[in-house]
């Protein structure tokens, strides 16, 4: 928790993504700790997005009665990153030249 909050201060980040894809199981203590981290980051002025929650973890979280309603959750890190870009009013665009009509290249859809 401390290291995330410290990095938020150092980098001036407005959004933090917590990706827990590599976490196989979660107990109440870990879930509560995640929630505390999200709350602390919000107090400092940064939003948190949690991504990569496994089905088993989702079941555990609901069965344990942990309230994640106030937290943005996304299924993959890519989804979370897309949300973060949108919130920061940023977008990724292709630098490839747009081909003439009928060409195979079309501008990338916005994320």
């Amino acid at each position: 928790m401390e290291s995330l909050l410290q990095r938020i201060v150092e980098t001036g980040s407005m959004i933090a993504i917590l990706d827990i894809t590599g976490v196989p199981t979660v107990d109440t203590l870990v879930a509560q700790h995640l929630l505390k981290t999200v709350a602390a980051a919000r107090l400092m002025g940064a939003d948190c997005i949690i991504s990569g929650i496994r089905p088993q973890i989702a079941q555990t979280i609901v069965h344990l009665g942990v309230d994640l309603n106030s937290v943005t959750t996304k299924s993959t890190l890519a989804d979370a990153f897309a949300v973060a870009l949108r919130r920061a009013n940023l977008r990724v665009v292709s630098t490839a030249p747009v081909r003439p009509v009928g060409g195979p290249m079309t501008p990338q859809e916005d994320l």
């Binding site: 928790m1 401390e2 909050l5 410290q6 938020i8 201060v9 001036g12 980040s13 407005m14 505390k36 709350a39 602390a40 980051a41 919000r42 107090l43 400092m44 002025g45 940064a46």
Partner: protein, 131 residues
């Protein structure tokens, strides 16, 4: 003997409070009193509280921040708390005070932007009602 006070600066439609000293309980109560008076006097639409110099908080100070936000809300002003240190944030969360009614920002600049956008929305909604 004059009482120690925390200065409240007026910046346009907003009030700026920068806490640069260690908060003790009497100072906090004095601030609460002064701030509500100033909001009423000036008709400010936003209050920005900079706590970047605050190194320690207790439950009393935490509750005071929540109270100030609640009072400002009643007086038709938004509150943004900016520059909270990691240690302070952790303490407040561990105390079970996640200050749900308080808006937050990383620094004064972003806090001001937040207040300005809130003021813009307020203006838009006020004028939508009258139209």
């Amino acid at each position: 003997m004059s009482v120690e006070r925390i200065p409240i600066l007026k910046m346009g439609a907003f009030l700026l409070v920068s806490i640069q000293v260690d908060m003790h309980d009497r100072l906090a109560l004095q601030l609460q009193e002064d701030l509500t008076t100033r909001i009423a006097e000036t008709g400010a639409h936003g209050v920005l509280i900079d706590i970047s110099a605050l190194e320690m908080v207790d439950s009393f100070i935490g509750r005071m921040l929540g109270n100030i936000a609640g009072m400002s809300r009643v007086l038709d002003a938004d509150t943004v708390v900016v520059g909270m240190r990691p240690a302070v944030a952790i303490t407040l969360v561990e105390l079970g005070m996640s200050l749900p009614g308080v808006r937050t920002a990383l620094d004064v600049e972003r806090g001001m932007a937040l207040l300005a956008s809130a003021a813009g929305e307020r203006y838009a909604s006020d004028h939508a009602d009258g139209a």
